[in-house]
């Protein structure tokens, strides 16, 4: 358990967090690994955990009829996978697949949600760490939707010369 605490304390996501809370989080966590191609979770499943990737890459996918699985985004080391565990109905909205060997720390969602409800200060700290992740993913998705490489001309020919 001490090892997991030390590991969490080193993660950028938990940097600066009160050691007591890191100790609590370590109590709700365990090390996991997924081989390439293995699914961390499936769309529609109950979101009973979330993960912090230590190593490897995870693809967030959705199934498009006629196309099969389409990767929306890949997530790498030090990134959090999943926030559907935070809000009802606590269901995953994407599939998450290990692109390569993934080592991660898995947190039990119910344990952490309960602590957030009991201790608003802890809940606030957790949200202040999770919201920037959500915001950055939203911004990245917006940038993807802009299709910036599709509309820009060649270097240095803005005029479509």
């Amino acid at each position: 358990m001490e090892d997991l605490e030390a590991l969490l304390a080193r993660q950028p996501f938990f940097r600066g967090m009160d050691p007591r809370w890191i100790a609590f989080l370590a109590g709700c966590a365990r090390n996991v690994r997924f081989n390439a191609g293995e699914y961390l979770f499936h769309e529609g499943d109950e979101a009973i955990r979330f993960l912090l990737i230590r190593h490897g890459r995870v693809a967030l996918e959705t199934h498009v009829p006629g196309h099969g699985p389409v990767t929306i985004q890949t997530i790498g080391a030090d990134d959090v996978v999943g926030w559907s565990w935070l809000f009802p109905p606590y269901r995953w909205i994407f599939d998450a697949r290990a692109v390569e060997l993934v080592r991660a720390v898995e947190f039990e969602a119910a344990c952490i949600r309960q602590k957030c409800d009991q201790d608003p200060a802890f809940g606030y700290v957790m949200l202040m760490r999770l919201v920037p992740v959500i915001v950055s993913r939203l911004q990245a998705t917006r940038l993807q939707l802009l299709d910036v490489y599709g509309v820009v001309a060649g270097r240095h020919a803005h005029t479509r010369a």
Partner: protein, 278 residues
């Protein structure tokens, strides 16, 4: 300082040595040095390439500054002139003026970590800087290249990327906005790769080139990670015509891109980046 011809406004004939297809709409044109004379350029500079009877267009030099001949330009076909350039064949002749403009601060970055962030065709002006760094690898700290493209089919310089990925002294991360079946690489915007780059953000320089929207997001992320604003360098893009600071076509705020740019320190263009339609 231009080195081709005696008059910066007069194109000199240059023979096409080779045209290499990069993607469905992008190619690299290698030109012999005009009249066999020498040619040199600094990473980030551009030439004016004139297709006789059609027109002239500014194109960044994408070749190796250590071996500047053949003179390489990587061109995406987006209009009449660039489409004509893509249609060139070995032995064809074009007009050439240059090199023009400012360059990536490769000497000033010595002793520091280097983070290169490229989007789409923006890898072309950064490639000479990358090649300069690799040719002088011992003078730099950790080096990372982050490259984003629209799809896997739109990745430029694939052979370079594969070779660079095989090096132990270089971090290369590639991502695409829209994957295709079988693509096992990164998916997402290039700016999302920045925070994972193995460089010391407090002690690194960042060179950024790509669509302006991408560069704005990249700068925001770099600043969030505590990269010093004065160590962020961008390559801007505007419609250049004369390339010698006379016509004003490429005005960008108080600057003429052909003369003071296209490569700028971020603090010098910070104000103009956020003003629409500048």
């Amino acid at each position: 300082m231009h080195t081709l011809g005696r008059d910066a406004m007069v194109p000199v004939p240059a023979v096409v040595r080779r045209v290499r297809r990069q993607t469905r709409d992008t190619c690299t044109v290698d030109l012999d040095s005009p009249r066999g004379q020498g040619f040199s350029f600094r990473p980030g500079q551009f030439n004016m390439v004139y297709v006789f009877g059609i027109g002239e267009v500014p194109i960044s030099i994408s070749g190796n500054p250590q071996r500047p001949v053949p003179i390489s330009h990587t061109v995406r076909a987006v209009g009449a002139i660039t489409t004509a350039i893509r249609g060139l064949r070995r032995g064809d002749v074009v007009g050439l003026r240059g090199p023009f403009g400012s360059s990536w601060p490769v000497e000033a970055a010595e002793g520091m970590d280097v983070l290169i962030v490229a989007g789409g065709v923006g890898l072309a002006p950064l490639r000479p800087a990358m090649l300069h760094v690799l040719a002088n690898r011992e003078r730099y700290g950790r080096v990372a290249l982050l490259y984003g493209a629209r799809t896997p089919h739109d990745l430029l310089f694939r052979r370079d990327l594969e070779r660079w990925r095989g090096r132990f002294d270089l971090h290369v991360a590639v991502t695409v906005d829209a994957p295709v079946l079988g693509w096992n690489g990164g998916v997402g915007v290039v700016t999302a790769l920045i925070q994972s780059a193995p460089v010391d953000f407090a002690e690194c320089v960042a060179w950024v080139c790509g669509p302006e929207v991408m560069m704005r997001f990249a700068v925001a992320e770099l600043l969030r990670l505590r990269v010093a604003a004065e160590r962020i360098t961008l390559s801007m893009e505007r419609n250049m015509k004369c390339a010698v600071g006379l016509c004003g076509h490429c005005q960008y705020g108080p600057y003429l891109l052909c003369r003071e740019g296209p490569v700028f320190r971020y603090p010098d263009v910070q104000r103009w980046l956020t003003i629409k339609e500048v």
